[in-house]
Subunit: 336 residues, 2 copies
């Protein structure tokens, strides 16, 4: 993996005290499952140092304040809130997708039960709102509103993603729209939330949001490639995990669109992939053969370029711009 | 069942347009499962008139505005938001408790799958925040904050309720504290939210909140009695449902505290109740014999009295006071 840019480390150490203060407000059971999920404690509550996510969203929130010339400190509640929403969605996704492992550890539902994973996710989403509303400034109230809207889109995207699992006619455009909601909305929000907290509004905020949105789509395209061809050591997920779970991702929808005359063959292999590893391997080969991987790589590149164009249009402060470029590169340069 | 007071019908017709406007903002899948849950459509999306809840929380929110001399219309976004939070928690509870029926219909997860029920609940909780934050008035922003705090307590209470299922040493006080969070917090919020939206703060709001909180505890005590001795026709749940689910409710904790020398016998019967209807029937008899039912009825009466005392202290407008009394009586006068 590419070396993480320094801003991710800075984001981590900047927001960690505030994030810990936030989770400390939770009742004991909810605090335990949340802090376990965040990689701070093991299943018995002992402090550990696990890989706890890359804090990309927190970094974007901080940098978006710097981008409009404000102090990054003003963005801290936003950075905390957006990480809380992200982790709420991961907890619920793991229940919904029946995923037993994340970041090479048992998921919250696997460790503490489905009930705890559902309520802990609920608690983090609520806590995100509390963190911003307690701040009480006009920027923070506006930030809560913007974050609630992004959360709503994220939930809608996840719901469509589930519905896709039982359909075999999902189109590329539908898949882009779903990724836009599931991944783009929260990254767009993160990449503008610091500016919102700083009291800025209008064109620059809209362009920063666009930067995050396109970065989210580029990220999702890379993630879709990893979901089929990624190695377990990199992804922490089983091989061909998206195929096994009947996800309808960009490479699949692109291949189906191009597999004239062979569409039914590919559909049958995809359906068989749920219970049959050989079928999944053959499906992966066919998807590559019919151009699904190439189309998705191209989409990743295009949305990366759109992200950079939006960043230019936002006219960010030079230092913040350099770091926002570094984050963008880091997000798309993950190895399969 | 006691005849519902007129204010519940008024609350229903007052908030229904705004509630429909709110759910119309949801994406198609989320809208479908939410409107199904609310009793507006059947599983195929056809309009129906199902029993859709009693709108007690909405009525309390409207009356709390009237109680401080404001127009009930100012409370509508609060009434809608509190109903959304209530229904979010029901959807997730049904998943967590593995309940297949509610209001004599299949629950959302039973009808549309666990994934849809989780994301639909998430969507309603988020929508509640959006409804208040979009309002944008200082009262509505304060209302969003108050509602987020109540939601946080509700989630904590539900989490403790789950944890109780695997414990056999839950005390009466722990059970009261859990009910306080699970049921009292949101009713307290509902009973003061309209006043908050009207821009009122301070002593009257605190006393209205106390009224709702104690009413919630009285309601929960009655609900705990119905959870053991209620008839399916009234509750829409299987007989002895709380015993079958290993819930630790007020009658159970009271009986255990009083069953000196017979505690182990009762514990064994309670444990056996999960899979054995005869054991549940005998446990119910023992709980009654050891005074669990009587203690819970007494608690219901005491919290009802405390609710009325708090209502007096809030010095509500006379018309609103009459209706708040009617709601209070209706809430505790449900038949087993």
């Amino acid at each position: 993996m590419a070396r993480p840019p320094a801003v991710l480390d800075r984001a981590r150490s900047t927001i960690l005290p505030a994030l810990r203060q936030a989770t400390a407000r939770l009742s004991p059971e909810l605090r335990r499952s949340s802090e376990y999920h965040l990689g701070w404690i093991d299943v018995d509550g002992r402090p550990i140092e696990a890989g706890a996510g890359k804090h990309v969203r927190a970094a974007l929130a901080l940098l978006s304040a710097a981008a409009v010339g404000a102090d990054e400190a003003v963005a801290v509640p936003g950075a905390v809130a957006v990480e809380l929403v992200h982790n709420f969605s991961l907890m619920h996704d793991d229940v919904i997708d029946d995923d037993r492992e994340r970041r090479h550890r048992p998921t919250v539902w696997a460790a503490f039960g489905v009930g705890q994973a559902i309520t802990a996710g609920d608690a983090l989403a609520t806590l995100a709102m509390q963190v911003l509303l307690d701040e009480g400034t006009p920027g923070a109230v506006r930030g809560a509103s913007v974050l609630a809207d992004a959360t709503s889109r994220l939930i809608a995207g996840e719901t469509v993603d589930i519905a896709f699992e039982t359909r075999d006619d999902v189109t590329w455009d539908e898949c882009i729209e779903m990724s836009n909601a599931k991944t783009g909305a929260l990254l767009g929000c993160a990449a503008s939330l610091g500016a919102v907290l700083a009291g800025v509004d209008g064109e620059r905020v809209a362009r920063l949001n666009d930067y995050g949105l396109h970065l989210g789509l580029a990220f999702q395209a890379v993630d879709d490639i990893l979901g089929i061809w990624g190695q377990t050591a990199t992804t922490g997920k089983p091989v061909w995990s998206d195929l096994r779970q009947q996800k309808k991702t960009l490479p699949i929808t692109a291949a189906l669109a191009r597999a004239d005359g062979h569409r039914d063959e590919l559909r049958l292999l995809l359906a068989a992939s749920r219970d049959d590893e050989d079928a999944a391997a053959r499906a992966a080969d066919l998807i590559e053969k019919w151009g699904g991987r190439e189309a998705t790589e191209q989409a990743a590149a295009e949305h990366f370029d759109s992200a950079l164009a939006a960043l230019d249009a936002a006219e960010p402060e030079p230092g913040a711009k350099t770091e926002l470029l570094e984050v963008a590169r880091f997000v798309v340069e993950r190895e399969t």
